[in-house]
Symmetry: C2
């Protein structure tokens, strides 16, 4: 078996490491003062042939005016990238318009493939392949990283991950393609236009995860338009009739179910076209931060750190869960103090009626806003610390636990005061007012903090950099060095988490109290239109280019949005039940009112679940295409089995 | 491609059709007076080599004292069965205790495999393989069945299905194995014992679907024991305190969630051991009743009848759905008449107070019971007719639509009167009484109608048959003929639908009103214990042996039981809220009472959903084993790709 493997690997030797047309794709930055022997060993492993356990990539030090700066450019030959595409299991379109997993041997059947067409793989795909190959560069018999005895290695450990955790490797990031970026940003946000975003181009440049976020943002904005349109006359004509509110709320609740279900279908269409719907999940490696005693992984049979699942469960349920509950309680406590302060300020203003006292009216809100912001930050750090301490083996399970923790806390922080006003104080005027204030200020602050501020800082820095560089600029090679130096200082995009969170909270503002403040949808639509532009700006100009991540759906966020839409059924029913107009309909018996509201609520919930059940998650044509692929693979398997049976009988 | 296929198929010719040790496995009964040419053609196709498009099975006419009776016995050589096992994708245990898909070439690695061990495949598996091979016997260029010009064929049409729909083929059924059956029935219900059912033996004899039903029945019975135990003191001590009822109901609600979640895990353990959890779903053929214009199937590219999905949707939503709603309305209407009659009988009894009038008290219930039974029967036929008219392509989708229709109607018929008594009449005494009457009578009637009656009829018939035969009985061959003749007259087991339906309704009686009638669980447990015995008796003695059907779960029933447990949260909360004891707790305000009940209900529902989310559907060790298999197949794929890449570069 091992013999056979070796032979196979040997055949990769046709990949010649020294190639003339070197195209830099990924930048590796090592720490200043990294030992020579380490650099030599590392670069040798990267360049080394597959047969010798290397990555068989191309690497070149970046030469700037100050000499070599421990920055390296990584690339790969065209052939190497095609073989890598097969390893990561990329799915591409065939000449007959079907989507198939790319294999080198069947390369001729793919659309736009030609041996000299270097654009068959997008740059984002090439960079993803290189990242994958680098991360899968594994230790052979090294016990440690040469030059760093404290950085232990064991056979099969990912070298890059060990270098990252021991701080020798500062960062790895993909290079921007100035020309492509210019084209993309022009068609994306460069001109004022009515129309869809160039999602396919975004996907080609930034990968599926980010394209899917922008797709969702756009879809969500369009989906909110009907709500916004119906909401406007309520504001303009100051409609206060209960039946109109009931109609609006009912429409909203059913609509939000429909849009979430339809999104699943849209998402399937997009990811089918991009190939990620069909992409087989790769076997997930342990995340970089995962630690444990060296043991045998029961799944792979490889030596790697293992950590008892029971211990993790204990940490989750005995430490993290109580901590989160405590934080939630504390947050509620702070909120109660805020309401006391507010009451005190009101009383003070009534007594004194001075300019000072009327200014004092704003103090509690400001303090509360600041405190919430501080609490959010601290909690975020605590959540990250706890989730990392829970020691999840997989990045995906780490992410899910982190998202859950942060989501619950943010939900409470944003909506607890509104719930209190609505269901304890029963003050609809105040609710409407607070809702409007919260929604609008949070949107403005977010847009500012998220995009405009970093953009401005980045621009100032770039200008300074350019000034410094310009004087000595001579040829194209320096331009590359300049680009690398500029990009390595840019902020790192930390993933779509905060962007989705923002949308999630916005969805909460729109749907939870939709029958009290129909105008929320209007503000949400307006915000999202500018959000698309500012997020696009952020991606293209503010942050380092992120590595593309293939994904088939928006994952846990779908669940979060669906949960929010269930909660909003409950809140809206209660709000409508509490309105004086509905109250007046049941003059004799409050009981009948409450029972009617409860009945309607249960009916709406039942309709929601039935709708979610009846609407298929994938459009029919996608279902057919998937069935066709499955059928073909079953047929292929059958033939293969017949062949094997025949062979075994000939022996 | 076609050339290669042919060559492969040719290699199957080593299977010699004429073999000495013929073991009859499956019986084929053709209609009396079937034309000679048809029989000749059909048997030739069955015996013919794979290379010529035959099934390559063994077939022998059954000879009785009256000569040949158009009954044929089908068997297969050991080698043929092993190759068939590979075709259907059976999963068996390897020597290293892992479960793997059986392939002929890797046969040596499987546990208990030996070339002369004819028990490697169980008899049920052999019969399943033969059924699969027979159903996959497809027309080549025949335009019709020889001798029957009206029975059209087209290339690729399943011959057996066409023969069945045109009435030439009366039935196909697997033979019982008298000896095995005796052993099984002895260990199953032959002796009074405390302990589990021999589920693995049941699975070997009857297949996974039936074994899983008995597994679920047993599991469900055990799961009900805690409820029954807690329920007994309520009856014995006539506890009427509200807090005890609340405790009982709360326990019940959470318990029912837990047992349904744990069942998923149990089911995964069972089906992993049986190999069906890992079994790849075969590509489903159109069901026999499916009709349409001949066209190209977009998935397989084969010629077959196609039917527009839009037409089917229209039929479902414009005809079936309104019809079902109408039936539901009609059923409610009948119920209202029943309550009027009941009231009239009560009034009449009060006025007259004679023996006749007190007998008249029972008349409405009897009429209602009879009417409901008649309505159920008629509705069942209507539902079957409608679902067949909807023209579903797949058997599974036909089954799901039928189950849904029947389920909704039965639910209403069984529980509508109870709901009416509980939530309209507010009569808890009557509710308890009706519940007890309905539960106990339905259980007794079911057991009688389902098992004892057919058993008695069968026994009488057998005795008559034996008497007729005994006189002429001479050798062992007649004994087989006798067995076949006896079995072909036995009833056909129509699947687990009615058995599950019975359990589902029982679950409704136990959980929907558990806080009113805690004794229901006790009756359910008692019934289920006898149900196991009577169902076992039914399977072994009353019906023809059914074909084994591999399955990985109880399918749509899991969903049905979960829905029932959600509904029961709502009903129990309302019932508790209505009890006078709880009422007395809120003397001032009915509002507070209703709000508290609603709050508790929502909390319970939330806890239910969180529990269902948190409890993993598969136990950890099964998850690990599945992950290991997936990892291995990914690794194998990688190596295969490397091999192909290497080969393609050598060219």
């Amino acid at each position: 078996m091992v013999e056979k493997m070796k032979e196979l690997v040997e055949s990769w030797s046709f990949l010649d490491a020294a190639e003339s047309n070197f195209r830099p794709l990924v930048v590796i930055e090592l720490a200043k003062g990294t030992k020579e022997e380490t650099i030599e060993w590392f670069t040798k492993r990267i360049v080394d042939k597959k047969a010798n356990g290397g990555a068989q990539l191309l690497i070149k030090p970046l030469v700037t005016e100050n000499g070599v700066e421990n920055i390296y450019l990584v690339g790969a030959s065209h052939l190497r990238l095609l073989l890598g595409a097969e390893t990561v299991g990329l799915v591409k379109e065939c000449s007959d318009n079907s989507m198939r997993t790319f294999t080198y041997s069947s390369r001729k059947t793919f659309k736009h493939f030609a041996d000299d067409n270097h654009n068959f793989l997008t740059m984002a795909e090439c960079q993803y392949i290189i990242k994958h190959e680098l991360e899968n560069l594994r230790a052979k018999n090294e016990k440690m990283i040469p030059g760093y005895p404290q950085a232990k290695l064991y056979p099969g450990k990912s070298i890059v991950r060990r270098l990252l955790t021991s701080g020798i490797l500062v960062q790895i990031f993909p290079l921007h393609d100035r020309e492509e970026l210019k084209k993309l940003s022009h068609s994306w946000y460069g001109r004022v236009k009515v129309g869809y975003q160039p999602l396919d181009d975004i996907r080609c440049y930034f990968g599926e995860t980010i394209a899917l976020y922008f797709g969702f943002l756009e879809y969500f904005t369009f989906a909110l338009i009907p709500m916004a349109v119906i909401g406007i006359p309520y504001y303009v004509f100051a409609w206060e009739d209960y039946d109109k509110y009931v109609m609006f709320a009912t429409f909203n609740l059913l609509w939000s179910t429909v849009i979430l279900e339809v999104w699943k279908r849209m998402c399937a269409i997009l990811t089918y076209r991009w190939g990620t719907l069909l992409m087989k999940r790769q076997f997930e490696e342990p995340r970089p931060g995962f630690h444990g005693v060296l043991g045998i992984n029961p799944v792979t049979g490889r030596e790697e750190p293992v950590y008892s699942s029971i211990k993790r469960q204990l940490r989750i349920y005995l430490v993290s869960l109580p901590f989160v509950c405590l934080c939630l309680y504390f947050s509620l406590y702070v909120m109660m103090i805020y309401f006391d302060l507010e009451q005190w300020a009101l009383d003070y203003d009534k007594e004194n009626e001075s300019v000072f006292s009327s200014l004092m009216l704003y103090v509690p809100s400001i303090i509360y806003a600041v405190v919430i912001e501080i609490m959010n930050r601290i909690y975020r750090y605590a959540a990250e610390f706890l989730t990392s301490w829970e020691n999840h083996r997989l990045e995906s399970s780490y992410q899910n636990h982190l998202i859950l923790k942060v989501l619950v806390f943010n939900f409470l922080n944003c909506f607890a005061s509104l719930f209190y006003i609505a269901f304890v104080l029963f003050d609809m005027k105040l609710l409407r007012q607070s809702l409007a204030t919260l929604l609008i200020t949070s949107q403005i602050l977010n847009q500012f903090a998220e995009s405009l501020l970093p953009y401005w800082l980045q621009k100032r820095y770039n200008r300074r950099m350019k000034k410094r560089m310009c004087s000595k600029k001579t040829d194209m090679d320096l331009s590359l060095a300049e680009q690398v130096n500029m990009e390595k200082e840019m902020g790192t995009y930390l993933g779509t988490f905060d962007d989705y969170l923002e949308l999630f909270l916005q969805f909460g503002y729109v749907s939870l109290f939709s029958c009290v403040y129909p105008l929320a949808a209007v503000f949400a639509v307006l915000n999202n239109i500018t959000e698309i532009y500012s997020d696009a700006l952020k991606m293209c100009r503010v942050y380092k280019r992120p590595f593309a991540e293939p994904t088939a759906s928006i994952g846990v966020w779908q669940l979060a949005f669906e949960t929010m839409s269930v909660i909003s059924v409950v809140t809206n029913c209660i709000l409508i039940g509490m309105s004086p107009e509905v109250d007046a309909l049941f003059p004799d018996s409050k009981m009948d009112l409450v029972l009617t509201v409860a009945l309607v609520e249960h009916l709406l919930l039942a309709i929601k679940f039935i709708m979610a059940f009846v609407i298929p998650d994938k459009p029919r044509d996608i279902q057919m295409k998937l069935a066709k692929l499955e059928f073909e693979s079953l047929e292929a398997l059958k033939q293969q089995q017949m062949k094997l049976a025949a062979e075994s009988l000939k022996e």
